[in-house]
């Protein structure tokens, strides 16, 4: 009961705040207090959004083309990195030998932020898709390794001892002990990997791309077209929201034994 009341209060206050801000935006733009050169008025924003979604498009494409291009690259980089990173992290977590062999190399790569790979990727692979997948690979690889690793290390000892006593080995051990035990932490890693991919892709596209949401932002910045900058940012937020929601769904489906998260 009191929880519902509190939710209601949140809903009302939240809505009131948003309405208030939109009101300030309307008044500020109409009165000229917010300069149109710095921030678009609502009409300008809707005109830009319309141009991007149903009109002639912007920066060589309409919004669905830009979004598809960006999402395609994010998924490519994300899966290429996590398909290697998660097993590698699990292996390093399980075997001290693997940890000793791989960890020093990993420690060299780990402190370099994903965005710092961009110039190297461009020198090596140019401005096309290959360079972006390389950048995204590094963005997603590091978090997926670290969290899979800590996931295995956080499995409680009695579980590991029991499985050893029962003679669980090989694929069964991986499938029934290691992966389920590490799964919450693996998903934390996947979430960070996905966020990293989104940030890295926008940055990479801002530095040079033929198509993509970062290209929209870049072109809009170059043309000093604030309404289109805002429209591009909304597109980035929508893609970020959508991809995170899909991952949330997969997470809930994979761990039905966890009622809350």
């Amino acid at each position: 009961m009191s929880a519902t009341l509190r939710d209601n209060a949140r809903l009302w206050t939240g809505t009131a705040t948003v309405v208030g801000l939109v009101g300030l935006w309307l008044i500020g733009s109409a009165s000229g207090f917010i300069s149109a050169q710095n921030f678009p008025s609502p009409e300008q924003f809707f005109a830009a959004a319309k141009q991007l979604v149903v009109g002639e498009g912007f920066a060589d494409g309409r919004i669905h083309e830009h979004m598809l291009q960006s999402v395609k690259l994010i998924l490519l980089g994300f899966f290429a990195a996590t398909a290697i990173g998660v097993p590698l992290g699990l292996w390093m977590g399980w075997s001290r030998t693997a940890e000793a062999l791989v960890n020093p190399i990993f420690l060299l790569v780990r402190p370099i932020p994903a965005l710092a790979w961009i110039p190297l990727a461009i020198v090596w692979l140019g401005l096309g898709d290959a360079a972006k997948v390389m950048i995204l690979w590094f963005a997603a690889f590091v978090p997926s390794v670290i969290n899979s690793f800590t996931g295995v290390r956080s499995i409680e000892r009695p579980i590991i001892e029991a499985s050893a006593m029962l003679g669980v080995r090989g694929w069964t051990l991986v499938k029934d002990v290691i992966v389920p035990g590490a799964l919450p932490s693996i998903f934390t890693g996947l979430r960070l990997s996905l966020q990293g991919c989104l940030t890295a892709l926008v940055a990479a596209e801002l530095l040079g791309a033929l198509l993509g949401m970062g290209k929209v932002l870049y072109q809009a910045g170059l043309d000093i077209y604030p309404a289109m900058i805002l429209a591009g940012m909304v597109a980035v937020a929508i893609v970020g929201f959508g991809l995170t929601a899909i991952l949330d769904f997969v997470e809930r489906r994979s761990m039905p034994w966890r009622t809350t998260h």
């Binding site: 509190r6 209060a9 949140r10 009302w12 206050t13 939240g14 809505t15 009131a16 705040t17 948003v18 801000l21 710095n38 921030f39 001290r96 030998t97 000793a100 062999l101 791989v102 960890n103 020093p104 190399i105 060299l108 402190p111 370099i112 932020p113 994903a114 965005l115 710092a116 790979w117 961009i118 110039p119 190297l120 461009i122 020198v123 090596w124 966020q195 989104l198 940030t199 926008v202 940055a203 801002l206 530095l207 949401m213 970062g214 932002l217 870049y218 809009a220 910045g221 000093i224 604030p226 900058i229 591009g232 940012m233 980035v236 937020a237 929508i238 970020g240 929201f241 995170t244």
Partner: protein
């Protein structure tokens, strides 16, 4: 005895791992798998690093670029901490503020910090202001979220005890919530420091007139891979240094609290 042998074996394995990495790199560069310009030898990169310290590139020496980056970084990060932490604590105490800001914050969260670059450049230029805003955008959310969560999960009995003695809201925040959520706040600062540093490099790559990111992007333009690699090493080392320092603070605070 067995442990010692085991440790020796692991150390050898670690050395082997590093040897394989540098061995492959050196071999690939030595047989010119790609032209030297694109794949320099490891010691060429080191040599270039030292050369950049005395001979300016893109208007600054290596340490000059690094100093420009660190200057922006400190401004942006300190601003994010100075706004984020108090706001998070206030939101943890005043329900109405929480209700007002959380929905707004939740919707802005999905915008990657780097997507603010065009507006940042438009509003604050490409000197100090624009990149500082991007660092702020990267470092602010973890500072706020961790202070907020820390304040929300303070044990009820401490707050009730303070209320029994008639402590006011601001006093409870300062004397109960702040100390109780300190570990969470410091963890947030550490995450924010990393995110801010990465955002700064991104901002400098795209739109800045100095800094380590600019040096890297100019090196890229000149197809000089060793400059790019020197930049990556410098970025990695400074990031690591900040992280190690904040880890030290974290350990010290937890130790003081007897954890």
């Amino acid at each position: 005895m067995g442990d010692k042998l085991q440790n020796r074996r692991l150390m050898w394995l670690s050395a082997t791992g590093l040897l394989i990495f540098f061995g492959l790199w050196t071999f690939a560069a030595w047989v010119e798998l790609a032209p030297r310009k694109f794949l320099p030898l490891p010691w060429d990169v080191v040599e270039r690093g030292f050369a950049l310290m005395s001979r300016p590139f893109s208007g600054q020496t290596l340490q000059g670029h690094l100093a420009a980056s660190i200057d922006r970084y400190l401004r942006g990060f300190l601003l994010a901490a100075a706004v984020g932490v108090p706001l998070g604590l206030l939101m943890g105490w005043y329900r109405w503020l929480d209700n007002m800001i959380t929905p707004l914050f939740d919707s802005l969260r999905f915008i990657a910090p780097i997507a603010w670059v065009p507006f940042a450049a438009l509003w604050f230029g490409t000197g100090i202001g624009g990149p500082t805003m991007i660092i702020f955008a990267g470092a602010f959310p973890p500072c706020l979220i961790n202070a907020y969560r820390g304040a929300r999960f303070v044990e009820k009995k401490y707050i009730e005890a303070a209320q029994v003695y008639g402590a006011s809201g601001p006093r409870i925040i300062y004397e109960v919530l702040l100390p109780a959520s300190l570990p969470s706040i410091i963890a947030g600062l550490r995450i924010g420091a990393g995110a801010g540093w990465q955002s700064l490099i991104g901002a400098e790559l795209i739109a800045a007139n100095s800094g380590i990111g600019l040096m890297m992007v100019r090196g890229q333009g000149a197809l000089d891979t060793s400059i790019v690699m020197v930049g990556m090493i410098a970025v990695g080392l400074f990031g690591l240094l900040v992280d190690v320092a904040l880890r030290g603070v974290e350990a010290w605070v937890n130790h003081k609290r007897g954890h």
